[in-house]
Amino acid sequence: MTERIEIENVTLAALQERFGDQILETHCFRGDATAIVAKEAIMAVLEFLRTDSRLDYCMLTDETAVDYLNYPQARRARFEVVYHLYSLSKNCRVRIKVPVSASDVLPSATRLWKTADWLEREIWDMFGLRFEGHPNLKRILTHHEFVGHALRKDYPVKRRQPLSSNDTLMDEMEKRLVAKGLK
């Protein structure tokens, strides 16, 4: 167990050594390592964590966002996008948080991990944060007549939006038929 905590600390130390003051903050509580990174450096940080052989964070286990509107303590920005990475060979995890405002556009992590495709679609649907370079940034959970971003703190949680008729999935199907050369 002591070794694992050391690996997390090695990760944070390596990040700070390489990226200097673009790592805004780090903390590690009982092996739960977190680094807050400036949004200009996020792609470089994720790529470094993935490709560096000492660290080898090959798996993006989750990508989500947090809305800090009305938070009691002042935060750097309204939203923070959170990446959870896991290293299969080293068996350790790290959390990367990026403060962004509602109008900021982050580069998409789909370049590094294909799983970020749906995860970033969920962030767009629930929070309204855009990702540049995403192959298909459209809503994934709410229905097609839904207006607004449901998990933002200023969306009233009980505002229900009934649906009149379902959209067909033909737009997705058309793309696949074309890709397979069947249309």
Partner: protein, 169 residues
């Protein structure tokens, strides 16, 4: 009257209402519309320990066009509600609906932006079964209530001014 004594043991007389309702109530074809956790309890009710086959509702048809009892088991979102309405419209008359569990009856503990607060916003419901999830016995009780209070009391013969009309929906 004199019929039974005339034919002996080969025939019995009854009313059209009674015989048709008897046939319908003891051969319900359930359609388990299981969207969430209550679906597991539906599976429990359909299988051996809590056996719904005792009540004749053995033939589970996973098609609305072939079933007459719709058991909505689980949370229904607005996206799913459109599909639920299509399901209900595809069922032939006479049809009955059980809202199983609190999510189907009232939205459950999901008082939020996406859950329909009770499927009676979308389709008419005969029996609401509370519970999260309800015991399989509770849903069996609902089936029995539909048999006794809905089907058994349905009138097939309709008295009209022109005479009695058989109304077979």
């Amino acid at each position: 009257m004199g019929l039974e004594s005339f034919f002996g043991d080969s025939f019995f007389t009854t009313r059209i209402d009674a015989i048709i309702n008897w046939g319908r109530m003891n051969s319900l074809f359930p359609m388990p519309y299981a969207t969430a956790c209550c679906g597991i309890e539906v599976m429990g009710m359909l299988s051996s320990v809590y056996d719904i086959a005792r009540f004749g509702a053995e033939a589970v048809r996973f098609s609305p066009r072939q079933s007459d009892l719709l058991i909505v088991a689980g949370t229904v979102n607005y996206k799913q509600g459109v599909i639920l309405k299509q399901f209900y419209e595809q069922m032939p008359e006479p049809k009955y609906v059980i809202a199983m569990g609190v999510c189907a009856s009232s939205g459950g503990f999901y008082d939020n932006y996406c859950v329909v607060q009770g499927i009676d916003e979308i389709i008419p419901v005969d029996i609401y079964v509370g519970g999260c999830p309800p015991r399989p016995e509770a849903v069996l009780d609902a089936v029995i209530k539909i048999q006794e209070q809905r089907i058994k009391k349905q009138t097939v013969l309709e008295p009209t001014a022109a005479g009695t009309k058989i109304h077979l929906p």
